[in-house]
Amino acid sequence: MFEKMRVKTKVIDSGKSGLDTQTLEVNVGPQHPSTHGVFRMTIVLDGEVVKSLRPVMGYLHRNHEQIAENITYSASMPYTDRLDYFNSMSNNQAWAMTVEQLAEVEIPDRAEYIRVIMSELTRLVNHVSVIGFLLNDMGAFFTPTLFAFREREKVLDVFEAVSGSRMMCNYLRFGGVNRDLTDDQLGQIKKIVADFPAFLDEFETLLAQNEIVCMRCQNVGVLPAELAINASITGPMLRASGVNYDIRKVDQYSVYDRFEFKIPLGEKGDVYDRYYVRMLEMRESLKILNQALEQIEPGPFMAPKVPACLKNPRNFKPPVGEAYGRVEAPKGELGFYVVSDGSKEPWRYHVRAPSFINLTVLEAMCIGYKLADAIVILGSIDIVLGEVDR
C-alpha cells in the first residue's frame, strides 16, 4: 500500500539526469499565512519537491513551565488556558485532574458531568476549526473556516455565559468547577447539540467528497502506524493511522465509562484520514454530549469536603509527591506532570503537549511531497503554537 504511494512521489534524483541543478532553501514562517502562528519550517526544495524540512520552534516561548513553578497551584489555572487557546476547557481539566490526584480530592458527579460536557464541546470547537483551517490551507477561500466559526461561535457563547470568557475560560477548579451550570445554559447546550448534526452534514457535503480535496489529501503525508507509535503520536493523528488508542477508553477517567461511544479509526494514515477521523470523532462527541446531558443531575458542583486548596488558594500545600494527569485533549494526550515538595508552588511542573510531540514527525511525513503538500500536512497535524512553544 505504501510502496505504491512512494513510487508516485519519489524524489527525483538530480544527479542522475546529469544536469547541474540547484536546490532552493525557503523559510516558511515564522511569518507565513499558513503556519498557524509563528512556526517556521526551513524547507529545502528541489523544484517543488521537499527534500528536507527542519521545524524551528520557540518563537512563542513564554516560559510557561518556569512560571508555573513560581506561582501557586491555582494560579496556574489561567495559564493553562493559554497553552492550547482553542481548548482551554480540556487544558483546565488536565491540570485540575493532576492536582486532584496529588491532593487526593474527590469530585462530585455533577462537576464531572459538567467537565465532560465542556471538554466535549471543546472537542467540537477544535475539530471543526481545524478542518476549516486545513481546507483553508488547501486554498478554499475561507468558506469552510467561516462555516466552522459560525458554529464555534455558538459554543463560545455558552462558554462565555458559563465561565465569563470565550476562550480563556479558567472555569475548572480543584475539586469541581467554578460555577454551576444553570438550566438555561443546559438548554442552550442541548440546542447546540441538537443542531450540530445538521451543520456537520452541510460541512461534510461542502468538501469531504470534493474531488479536489480528495486529490490533495489522499495518499499525501502518510504516517505509518509503526512510526506513529514510535514517535508517541497521540490523538486523532494516531487514530487516523489505524491505532486504537483513546485515553477516554484506556484510562476511563472522569465519567467516560458511563457513556456509549466508539473510536473511529483511519485506514492509511494520510491527510484525508486525519481529516475524516476528526469529522467522525465529532459525531461520537455528540453522542457523548447527548448522554451526558441526559444523565446529569442536580447536585453540588464542588467537592463537599472542601480541602484547603479551595478555601484558601494561596495556602494550598499538597502533600509531598508527584502526579501525572492526562486527558484526551482534542489534539491528543495532554498531560501535566507535577512534583510537589510540600510547598505552595510546584517543585517541578511539566506539560506533555500533544501538538509539540505530534509535530516531531513532520519531516518524515513531508519528504518527497510538494511544497503545497507540506502546508497541508502541517495543517492536518493540528498544532497550536501556544502549546508547541509553551
Binding site: V7, I12, D13
Partner: protein, 173 residues
C-alpha cells in the same frame, strides 16, 4: 488624408527606432534576463510593423508564437539556469568576430532586397483587403508548401517525443 498618413509614418518609424534600440540592447545588455526581455520587445515591435503594413495575421502569430511561446521559454530557461543569488550572469560572448562576420554576410544577402523595396509599402487603396488573407495562407500551406509544412510537423513530432523521453528518464522503471 496626408496628415494621418504622416502620423502613421511617425508611429511606424518610432516603432522601428525602438525596435533597433531594443535589438542593440538584446545584444549588449550585460544581464541575460534583461537581454531576453529586450529580445522579446524587439519581436513585439516587429509584430507591430507587420500589423502596420496590413499583415495582421502574421503580426498576431508573431506575438503568439515568438513572444508568448518561444521567448517565454527562453526567459524561463534563463531564469532557471541563472543562479538565483547571483543575478549578474554576464552574457559572455567569445565569438564576437565570427558573429560579426556572419552578420555581415547576412546584411550583404538581405541588404539588396531591402534597397529594392520603396521607402513605404505601397497599398492600392486603404479599403482594399489585406494582401494575404488567412484563407490564402492556409491554402498555400496545404498546397504549394505542403512539403516543408509536413517536414516541420515531423520535426515537431520528433521534438515532442524527445521531450517525453527526457522527462521519463528520471522516472523509476
Amino acid at each position: 488624408m496626408p496628415q494621418l498618413e504622416f502620423l502613421i509614418k511617425c508611429g511606424v518609424y518610432g516603432l522601428m527606432g525602438l525596435g533597433i534600440i531594443a535589438a542593440v540592447g538584446a545584444v549588449l545588455l550585460p544581464n541575460l534576463f534583461h537581454a531576453g526581455l529586450a529580445l522579446a520587445f524587439v519581436l513585439v515591435t516587429i509584430a507591430g510593423i507587420f500589423m502596420s503594413v496590413g499583415a495582421e495575421f502574421l503580426g498576431m502569430v508573431q506575438i503568439l508564437l515568438y513572444v508568448g511561446g518561444v521567448m517565454t521559454l527562453i526567459i524561463y530557461t534563463i531564469m532557471l539556469t541563472g543562479r538565483l543569488g547571483a543575478k549578474d550572469v554576464r552574457a559572455q560572448n567569445r565569438q564576437g568576430i565570427f558573429a560579426a562576420i556572419a552578420a555581415g554576410f547576412f546584411v550583404c544577402w538581405i541588404g539588396p532586397l531591402i534597397l529594392k523595396t520603396g521607402a513605404w509599402p505601397q497599398r492600392e487603396s486603404d479599403s482594399a483587403p489585406p494582401l494575404l488573407s488567412v484563407e490564402d495562407l492556409g491554402m498555400s500551406l496545404m498546397t504549394e508548401y505542403v512539403f516543408p509544412f509536413e517536414v516541420l510537423g515531423v520535426l515537431l513530432f520528433a521534438v515532442l517525443i524527445g521531450a517525453i523521453v527526457i522527462a521519463r528518464q528520471d522516472r523509476p522503471s
